[in-house]
Amino acid sequence: MAYSTRKASENVNIHVAADSLVCESATIVGHVTIGSRTIVHPRAKIIAKDGPIIIGEGNLIEEKASIINKNPPGVDGSSPLIIGKQNVFEIGSEFEGKEMGDNNVIEAKAKVSPLTTISNGCIIGALCEVNNCEKLENRTVIYGESCTRRKMAEDPPSQQQQSDFLKKILPNYHHFIKPKMKSST
């Protein structure tokens, strides 16, 4: 699906929090709310097709990651896509589910279908596809060629160091969307 290459800053429906970093060259279409301390890398795609997208605090959305609010087949109408805090969407990952909790990691090139919802602390391994109609339990790890599953005893390590580093380095190389004041439309 081709979206026009207009800059994300021209999209009037974005609400960007004050201390988040959203690169201008990211593709953001539709009603999207991005929470504070979230970093959206260049070339990320956030497309609110079938409803608004609400992204929480402290998330990391890397290059070529795509978050698309798509209805599962057979469902009509618009419903919001809610993403919690401290999640990481690594390079090339695709998330099309309707809900995600906190502290999850979606590794490179992993795909989550519109039928799945993810709770907290899950790790979807690289190149794994999750397309069952289910809610993944807390701290599930999916890894390997045959998408083997496991339960972890601890949450995935925090991304605080990475976020701090990016906050220092990214402004030197990219332009960001300036967060709007509440009074303007």
């Binding site: 391994g125 790890v141 390997g144 496991r150 339960k151 005893a153």
Partner: protein
């Protein structure tokens, strides 16, 4: 399957008696016996052991003598997914002893797997202070019993060997009386020359006793718990079969008992021709290097035949034109003459008829500087003009030639068409490596090349259309 050397399509004959065929990429060439060898015809010797993760090597002598044998000391496998483990660092702030107000940054280390995200903390293994040499393998609960059993068997075998020796020297009719004297005589002083020696040997043999294993009667065995077949199981707590086999000494049933196991060392080995006892493959000692000191593989000496293009259609009974390419890997110009296999030599799987040109094909030598040097004269004087009906294309040390294959009439759609051809090529010796007696007598600089014949079996493709 796509592969560079077409390992599943083109196979060379290794030995006529056994009728084995193998792709050239997997074969070796003994320049002393002038024959193709497969790994079955070669004996291997282990040169060195090395750890695949840290690439440090140790000699076979160390392996035999040290207690750790062929296990790496610092590299571990993840018990959950059998990938290699990496060290994770956890920075803590602990109070400095004595001064309760200051905080000291300390690093503790734990093992973590990057693939399945297992950590050594999940099973309760405490974090270590030092990054290397701190982790040890889980002890085998039966190790003590195994050790005492091994000692006892060693004692038994030693004793048997001694008894045999002492009895063998005695004439048979005296053997029993001698033995009785040795064991039961009160004086224990039999005047024989071998007495002193035997006394010493018997004294060096320490008596080792062993407790027989305990046995339990069937009534005392614990009964299975009541709900074992009806209770719900938590799958995440159970270990899988691969995980249990990872540590065969103590196969854990529960994921909380999983522990990292040592990485087994890889070996570098050298291959030797069984017939003439010369080394064919000898690798370098450095484990990180992929080069060889001696590298006599078939691809370097035998011209390689490949299918040039996939065939569009094959029909049973129809004469099809097949393009094959030959690559000359040697440093000399070679002459190749093709011929069909005679009926006795044809392997049973061949199900088609091949027509080959009778011309001798000349292929230029391998010239590694060809891409850098300009050559205005494309055809060498020796090569001359090519017959365009036979040789389609010539490019340095590679030519593409035509042949015609007629699959048998009774073949069905989907059957693979297999042909066989023979070719004779030259093998020039490098007289520095090989010294043969007749050459030393002649003392001539130019060595006459040996003519070698290879039989090649090819899978051209499947029948696509019926008649």
């Amino acid at each position: 399957m796509v592969s560079l050397f077409q390992t599943d399509r083109v196979k060379y004959l290794i030995s006529e008696e056994k009728g084995e065929y193998e792709s050239l990429a997997k074969l070796y060439f003994c320049i002393f016996c002038l024959k193709i060898r497969s790994t079955d015809d070669l004996q291997h010797e282990i040169e060195s052991h090395f750890c695949p993760q840290t690439m440090d090597s140790w000699t076979t002598n160390d392996v035999a003598t040290s207690a750790r044998k062929n296990k790496s000391s610092n590299s571990w496998h993840c018990p959950s997914c059998s990938q290699s483990l990496t060290l994770g660092i956890y920075n803590t702030n602990t109070p400095v002893p004595g001064e309760s107000e200051k905080m000291m940054a300390r690093k503790t280390y734990f093992q973590s797997c990057g693939f399945c995200r297992w950590t050594s903390r999940e099973v309760g293994i405490p974090d270590k202070e030092f990054s290397s040499m701190s982790w040890s393998e889980k002890l085998n609960p039966n190790q003590q019993r195994v050790n005492s059993l091994v000692e006892y068997f060693k004692f038994l075998s030693h004793k048997e060997a001694l008894d045999k020796k002492s009895l063998a020297k005695l004439p048979p009719h005296l053997a029993v009386t001698r033995q009785m004297h040795h064991r039961y005589s009160p004086l224990k002083a039999v005047h024989s020359p071998s007495f002193g020696r035997q006394l010493k040997e018997n004294m060096s043999l320490k008596e080792v006793t062993i407790e027989p294993a305990k046995t339990i009667s069937l009534d005392e065995v614990e009964k299975l718990p009541e709900g074992i077949f009806t209770d719900e199981i938590t799958i995440t707590k159970m270990t899988g079969i691969d995980q249990r086999h990872g540590s065969p000494t103590n196969q854990p049933n529960d994921t909380s008992e999983l522990a990292p196991y040592s990485m087994i060392a890889f070996t570098k080995r050298s291959l030797r021709c069984k017939a003439c006892d010369h080394n064919l493959i000898k690798a370098e000692y450095n484990p990180a290097s992929t080069k060889f000191k001696i590298h006599l593989i078939a691809l370097k000496f035998i011209p390689e035949i490949r299918m040039n293009k996939p065939l569009k259609s094959l029909q049973a009974g129809q004469r099809t034109c097949v393009e094959l390419s030959i690559i000359n890997p040697t440093e000399y110009l070679i002459h190749i003459s093709l011929s069909e296999c005679s009926t006795e030599q044809t392997p049973p799987s061949v199900n088609s008829f091949i027509e080959l040109s009778k011309d001798e094909i000349i292929i230029a030598r391998l010239d590694e500087t060809a891409e850098f040097t300009q050559s205005d004269d494309p055809l060498d004087s020796e090569i001359g003009q090519d017959n365009p009906e036979v040789i389609l294309h010539r490019d340095g040390n590679r030519i593409v030639f035509l042949c015609h294959v007629t699959p048998n009439k009774d073949m069905k759609i989907g059957d693979r068409v297999i042909t066989c051809l023979k070719f004779t090529h030259e093998h020039h010796e490098n007289s520095v490596i090989v010294s043969r007696p007749q050459q030393q007598q002649q003392q001539s600089k130019s060595t006459t090349p040996h003519q070698l014949t290879q039989t090649v079996v090819m899978d051209i493709g499947a029948i696509t259309t019926a008649e």
